[in-house]
Symmetry: D2
Subunit: 371 residues, 4 copies
């Protein structure tokens, strides 16, 4: 993908810095006639919004989205609908706490992109991390809400499945739990345990990483554009582009390395209208094309790099020093990555839905209904 | 990326099926004046070539590359050099063993893309897997050899680091060992053990997965095109696009989820001309931009799906049946994925080298010399 | 190009409708460290602004641009400079005169895109033409102002050279005249005559077409990306994408068809440091690559389709009717296309400057200096 | 478009030089299940083939196309059909007359790209013009033949309408005449006159330009991707990318500048199932979207730059000299541009057909039938 644009037919371009006046996204190539209102987008944005619990940054942002173009409503359209022209969404920054930025201006924060941005561009908006701030993900979530509207009938959900060394117990997996705890965790027991664990992490001025699992159900077989536009490749790119993500896997993922061909084979049986699979090591993707099974993608988020424990670093003039990253930070940035992972899944699928329809003229596999 | 093209400025497009007359690649956007000969490309192709050992398919292919365009030599050019126009490389298929394809024509092979190609396209060249055959990776390796020439001064190497459940011991890691064993393994001890293990796997008509680690050294700081053209995102897409790959990670990867911010921070010290890092959990990439440290990428390859142990499947008319995939297959397709991983790393880096140069006018970080 | 994005390395994406809250553009891939202020952009926007004379629409729009991202200034940057991240520019719509849109909602205006948008999208924001309004060109001009900053040392100017059947006399051509008359015309005599002519056209409730000539000087030899990214091809695409444009030519253009090879050959002589051409039928482009001579591009704009003389048309339900397009319209939309043509030339050149630098590592021809 | 690739969903990439072993094209994104045989492609190639008459170059090339991938046939497919994977087409160069290239190696041919290629790349395959040879257009015609198969029901034809100063008389326009004369001219009378005129031009060692008109009929309303993917903009780019083309126009084209809004308005009336237009100044495109009327595009080709009359030029070391371009050249390269123009029209339409289908899910306007 190119710079700040992602997608081929269903495309979006994000812009904005952490402490600029606003951030936003332009969604282009959206099918016309799709119902779209600020409320539909806000619903997803609110899930990602900071300050929801003591486990996320205390920065207070309304994250209120404005639709500036691409949607039209009159007495005939039965509500606000997309017109097929670019959809411009904007979120104004309201809580840019004025502060002295000298520290991050003059020192490179370990684990952050301060050093690399200086090396690449020779200039850097260091206020709150500028373009590298996780605030950019709000634009992804807004775009993802549009994608969800395009993907009527497809369910996209995510859960935090690991925090630090503590994994969930899949026997307790219950999607209904995800919105019942501050971790978007489908395992209530794990969530309860994590609460104490994360309190400790925060109190020691530390942070921790996490793993998110995103699952898309009712995706028709046939989506994906081999060889280099494989559904798996675009998902990998999409998830890896999220702040702090260091790993992505589909289905059995790294575990597949340890499996034998006999174990890994997802055997097939004849179903009523079409075949079905007896297992899903493939994570719903074979040869880069969806096979009708749930698409299962996991990605790992490294621990928040901004911690109040001093770390060794250098100044922009290459002199040794220490740094303590003050400010309002998530002890586990992985938590808020959950709705972001859902958004990226939706954005990849919406693009491949249109790409598949464009090349083949088919909506998807037999029996796939669109409204 | 789009269909069969990968890359933005340094781009390549592959074509060809397993049992067609030939396969090939067109490399476009290559800088002019780069030395390029068939020998330079053949060297890399020969490492991927089938039939090298009893651990890879016995299909006999010369994999001899022809340069059809984009290179010119006269009495003034000091050898054959690229002209900046498209470089067309072709490899003819010679060992298309004639056989009865009725079995794979009428049945879906579990773990293969047979079913999904039929669902997507409604037509499928089933001979040897057609477009989904790992033979396509020969075209990647050929293109990668061109990319290596563009990346003078950068070292790109890979090693098999896990086969089935058996990982290497990094204390034994020695790049010089990679070409001393049939597994491209940097740990001689592990390689010796794997030999017996894989013999057993093969004898039982089974197969097994693997993990490959690719390392690029001397990459200047500053390469990568955030937010959606992050170096990490393009690497993830590149590796995930390789046949049978189900997972990709950068640096600490999934392990990063278990680390705390204190542990994960790659602290910095002032070096002679520029800072250096005390660790490399980042795998050489921060904020999607190279930081000057070695770029470390691992990917998992699932076990070869073609095994001679019967598996349950269905016919193309949705009737239950069993299948045994005869033919000449790699017991561990991960082995031959090693040179492919190197090629994809080279192709991603060559593209980002040109993209960085285009946007910023800089070759890379201070002190990075190009011939 | 794809939907609402133009460019490859230096890219921009426009959004917004005539009667929405705002319109804007996101410029991506801009080199870092370029001086950029709202004033620099406003200067170009003001030349395109409506209501400048009785020959352009009386709609009153301040067309005041806001820079929302991508520019940073601190005590070290010596003014506001681009950071290499996306530059988001927004212009709010202020004079959306409330009116009854029933007429254009229910009838197709001949020469407009009303019918085709309905055929393509099945829904249409008809207020003031929605997305098809010439207001979109304000976003191009804003982006073009950024491109000009990137193209230090290159002069890009345009003149109206024909209005209706009346062409200028090139013997009177004087760039200094362009801003001395309401037609952006380099021929003062022609401009004077056009004033009366256009008064007549307007009084009879009619409109007329025009031809604009855009000239870029000091473009180094070597820009352009054959075969399908030829400088001439991208210019043709850029100009043809402007509202109401129906023709584009480079250098001798259509006249070249009537010339013989002997006449058309731009002969060369040895210059001080490099060769020069004795004529410029090529319009500064040979084989799709700039040759160092001025790049000369002309394009034709059809007469404004909105006229107050009744025309035959049909309703959206396919019934015969007549229509009179009331409202505030340019009698010759070609006039305001002059700064738009300059902007598109700048945008194409900025993209090819970066593309050339990316592939070859050269800024341009020998002796071409960049600040 | 990017370097040597054209198109967005239906894409093609050409490669090859005039005197290399072969040239070719990779067509990617083609819908599956389309009938495709070498004969279908050869039919179009033979129309462009050199040496057809004394008015075209006497170089003898069979221009025999090989399909290397992307097409499959078995007992169930009812003939050879596309599989949706890349279609690789190759044409071997057979008549690379061995000669001394010292002249064009050391001197820049006026009107050719010799100088600009040297300025851009610093290296040049000068044999027969290398990549800049009109032989590249054979690859376009081959790709265009694939596009025609995708565009079942759409008629795409072209005619030479002007040669030197001599235009055809549209009253004599008869498509059946196009293949009855060596000029692809729909006006038999004009063709007869041109024969004498061109004999004279050739005898005096001169050459001349031409204008080609391409018409596509039965294109459904709704194709085109505004604002920057307008059908008109992509056509302009496509035609301008053809060797020696200096101008492109749609519908009334430059003539539109002289028209008034009253004259130019294509008035509408209610038809049986949909509206129709009383005129076609728009050339079938409104707002960048097809309106259902014939798409009319004209482009101008400059005179062949290779002439045997001496012209002033410089050596590659910037010294004054003269040059006479010997060899086998078309006195009017515009003649063979006729089938090339048809091919580019087909390629643009095939791409927009898929793009429209992808975004909207519609094949085209009501009543548009596809086989």
């Amino acid at each position: 993908m190119s710079f700040n644009t992602f997608g081929h037919l269903f495309r979006f371009t994000t812009w904005g810095e952490s402490h600029g006046p606003a951030l936003g996204v332009v969604v282009d190539g959206c099918p016309p006639g799709i119902v779209l209102t600020p409320e539909l987008i806000q619903r997803d944005l609110d899930r990602r919004k900071p300050g929801q619990s003591k486990y996320t940054t205390q920065r207070r942002e309304a994250d209120e989205v404005k639709i500036l173009s691409g949607v039209f409503e009159d007495e005939r359209t039965d509500g606000a609908r997309t017109t097929g022209t670019p959809i411009s969404l904007m979120i104004e920054n309201t809580d840019q706490r004025s502060k002295d930025y000298a520290e991050i201006r003059d020192k490179y924060r370990p684990g952050h992109a301060d050093y690399t941005y200086d090396q690449k561009y020779g200039i850097r908006d260091y206020r709150g991390g500028g373009r590298t701030s996780a605030r950019e993900t709000a634009a992804r979530v807004a775009a993802g809400a549009v994608a969800r509207q395009v993907l009527a009938g497809i369910s996209i959900r995510a859960s935090l499945v690991q925090i630090g060394p503590h994994k969930i117990d899949y026997n307790n997996f219950d999607w209904d739990q995800v919105d019942q705890n501050p971790f978007f965790c489908a395992d209530a027991k794990a969530a309860a345990m994590w609460a104490d664990y994360l309190d400790g992490i925060r109190k020691e001025g530390n942070s921790v990483g996490a793993v998110i699992e995103v699952v898309a159900e009712n995706v028709p077989a046939g989506w994906g554009a081999p060889i280099y536009g494989k559904l798996s490749a675009d998902l990998a790119s999409a998830m890896m582009s999220i702040n702090a993500v260091k790993a992505v896997e589909i289905g059995a993922g790294f575990e597949a390395a340890s499996l034998t061909g006999i174990e890994n084979a997802d055997q097939m049986r004849g179903g009523e209208n079409r075949p079905y699979f007896l297992s899903n090591h493939a994570g719903g993707i074979l040869g880069g094309i969806s096979n009708g099974d749930p698409i299962v993608c996991r990605f790992a988020v490294k621990p928040t790099s901004s911690i109040i424990t001093p770390r060794q670093t250098v100044t922009t003039s290459n002199e040794d020093t220490d740094i303590v990253t003050k400010g309002r930070h998530d002890p586990c940035v992985g938590i808020r990555a959950v709705p972001v992972g859902e958004a990226m899944m939706a954005l990849v699928l919406a693009d491949h839905y249109l790409r598949h329809r464009g090349q083949t003229g088919r909506e998807g596999a037999v029996g796939f209904e669109r409204n």
